[in-house]
């Protein structure tokens, strides 16, 4: 289950006081179905911004994003939300687990938003958590888990609905090297076993090198040009 991701001429700028800062200056990108692409670049280069635009979390100033042939710029807020729910799994640097919900409840959340049957969701979430060796942490709250465990829960949550696209923003950035390595391995394994298209933003050149393709974002453009 995978999709093609295309971006053409993406531009984005922010107002910094009275000064306008151009973050993306015409990014072109194409990711093939099932491909895992790493995007690296210095801090402030716009890596996260690119990920947010691809995920429909933010709106570009110019250019277009197309996922599986569907352009995101034509969708309203509710349609975009539904599209994200059905198509994209997100993993962020700071996990962003919901602190009021247990591990399994966090993993089940995208399905609950989609209105799926709870029993089916619970079965899927339990299997996924067992797959990342958290079968004995189902009823723990995020505060009762280590950083690596929290990130593994976040990974399960991103994949529970088997989305065709996984977007990861510094998924190991907040973890020690050992925990980071483990999370990356799991992510790669789950991505490959499901054939999910994945785009990962990272500062870690070693992890980036292990992806199928490596892109560098610098000066607001991708190097080499995204295919």
């Amino acid at each position: 289950m995978s999709v093609t991701v295309r971006a053409r001429g993406l531009t984005k700028s922010y107002l910094d006081g009275a000064r306008r800062t151009e973050v993306l200056r015409g990014v072109d990108l194409e990711v093939e179905p099932g491909e895992m692409v790493a995007v690296v670049g210095p801090s402030g280069a716009g890596k996260s911004t690119l990920l947010h635009l691809l995920g429909g979390l933010d709106v570009a100033d110019g250019g277009e994003v197309e996922i599986a042939g569907r352009r995101l710029d034509g969708l309203g807020p509710a349609e975009l939300a539904a599209f994200r729910n059905e198509t994209i799994g997100f993993v962020f640097q700071f996990q962003e687990l919901l602190p009021d919900f247990t591990s399994i409840e966090n993993v089940m959340m995208p399905g609950r938003i989609a209105g799926m049957p709870v029993d089916e969701l619970r079965r899927r979430a339990t299997e996924l958590l067992a797959e990342v060796e958290l079968g004995d942490r189902l009823d723990r709250f995020p505060t009762q888990l280590s950083g690596g465990e929290r990130q593994r829960v976040a990974l399960c949550r991103a994949l529970v609905l088997e989305p065709p696209l996984l977007l990861a923003d510094e998924p190991t950035g907040n973890l020690d090297p050992r925990a980071g390595e483990r999370v990356f391995e799991l992510m790669q394994r789950l991505q490959q076993s499901r054939g999910t298209t994945a785009l990962m933003v990272t500062h870690n050149p070693e992890l980036a090198a292990r992806c199928a393709r490596l892109l560098r974002l610098e000066g607001g453009v991708l190097e080499p040009p995204g295919r």
């Binding site: 179905p33 939300a81 994200r84 997100f90 962003e96 919901l98 995208p110 938003i113 989609a114 209105g115």
Partner: protein
């Protein structure tokens, strides 16, 4: 080979279920934050206090108004007909008595006069009646024709049945010595209960004597339909049976000004006490706004996972609704139980100066429904206003650290 994603279908999402799921969890989880807990308790407690105060004050006013209405209606004819000057009173009485549903129709005469006994005089309202004493004279209703004064006047003047009382009217009678007041001397037949609401002294006397004193210009027809609501329904038929120019008034028409004042009093009291609930509603806005601000990253993550702005708005509508349901529920229980206890044990005693001995509490379903409706509307407004902020959050802004 790329798999086309399913078409986004925000409309078919059961947002209410997941919204309630989150709201219930937030309701308990926010207890961990002392400030949020304080604000939540203030909102729910204020709501409880406001609802209880509304229920108690409305129940008290309903009780008082019901007692007052009972006192007044006991002395008010169900239907009163004022005949035109050229009408034949006996024929009009027969026509009305023949109307289906009319239990009784009797002629009556009323006007101003004086009662004199033992060298003392007092202005009175003369009420002449035909046949036995009418029901508008409680305590003497159904008694034989004769003169009846209030227990109060009898006590004041030490009158006993059989004593002579002079009644004088303002209608002059011509005599060789010029105009003189018309006077009738009648023996006291009994007394009636004037209650504590009658400020004006009434005197009941046989119709023939009243007509002597007042003439026929003050003649009316008192109609009984056997119930207040029946009287309202019967009034048009009574009107049709009468000659043109006759004026038919129901007990409602007679007391229209009083009933309007009572309704106005209740409405104003409701609005004044509702202010407590409004203040609690503002505390609810502050509470929800604080929760929304403290949960920004989570709301951003929910947005990233596909929660629509509508779902996020519903989360906080539900949360506000739950807080108000807890507070309002306590308020309803407190107010209802309080009203019942205060009425059952007659806790609030009144002195002799009042028309009743204690403050009665009557909780009417319509009042309770009005309180619940007002609180629900206010909750929707307050929670809805706060929840708009959650719906307006951009996921990327909310996720930004």
């Amino acid at each position: 080979m790329s798999r086309p994603p399913r078409r986004p279908s925000a409309e078919r999402r059961p947002a209410a279920g997941v919204a309630l799921y989150h709201a219930r969890r937030y309701l308990w989880s926010t207890r961990r934050d002392a400030y949020v807990t304080f604000l939540s308790a203030t909102a729910a407690g204020g709501m409880a206090l406001g609802v209880a105060a509304l229920i108690l004050s409305l129940a008290m006013l309903s009780g008082l108004q019901q007692a007052l209405k009972g006192e007044i209606l006991a002395r008010t004819p169900e239907i009163r007909v004022t005949l035109p000057p050229d009408a034949d009173p006996a024929a009009a009485r027969r026509s009305v008595a023949a109307v289906a549903g009319v239990r009784e129709a009797r002629l009556a005469a009323g006007g101003r006069g004086w009662a004199v006994a033992g060298g003392r005089a007092r202005p009175v309202e003369l009420a002449g009646f035909d046949g036995p004493v009418p029901e508008t004279f409680p305590g003497a209703a159904g008694g034989r024709p004769g003169l009846y004064v209030s227990e109060r006047l009898a006590g004041l003047w030490a009158l006993e049945p059989g004593d002579l009382v002079e009644l004088a009217s303002s209608r002059p009678a011509l005599s060789p010595f010029g105009p003189l007041p018309t006077v009738r001397r009648l023996r006291l037949a009994g007394v009636f209960d004037a209650g504590r609401t009658e400020l004006e002294e009434r005197v009941a006397l046989p119709l023939a004597d009243a007509r002597e004193l007042l003439g026929d210009r003050e003649l009316t027809l008192l109609v009984s339909a056997g119930g207040l609501q029946r009287a309202r329904r019967l009034a048009p038929a009574v009107s049709q049976a009468l000659p043109a120019g006759a004026r038919v008034e129901t007990w409602q028409d007679i007391n229209r000004a009083l009933f309007f004042a009572l309704r106005l009093e209740k409405t104003l009291l409701f609005l004044a006490v509702l202010l407590i609930v409004v203040v609690a509603g503002l505390a609810l806005v502050a509470d929800l706004s604080l929760i929304i601000a403290s949960k920004r990253p989570e709301l951003g993550m929910l947005g990233a996972m596909g929660a629509t702005p509508r779902t996020l708005r519903r989360v906080f509508l539900w949360l506000g609704g739950l807080l108000v349901a807890i507070g309002g529920g306590c308020g309803v229980a407190l107010g209802t139980a309080g009203a019942w206890l205060l009425d059952r044990w007659r806790v609030l005693r009144l002195g002799e100066a009042f028309f009743i001995d204690y403050v009665p509490f009557t909780l009417r379903p319509a009042d309770l429904a009005a309180v619940v409706a007002a609180v629900t509307l206010l909750t929707l407004l307050c929670a809805g206003w706060a929840a708009r902020r959650a719906a307006a959050l951009s996921p990327v802004e909310a996720l930004r650290r």
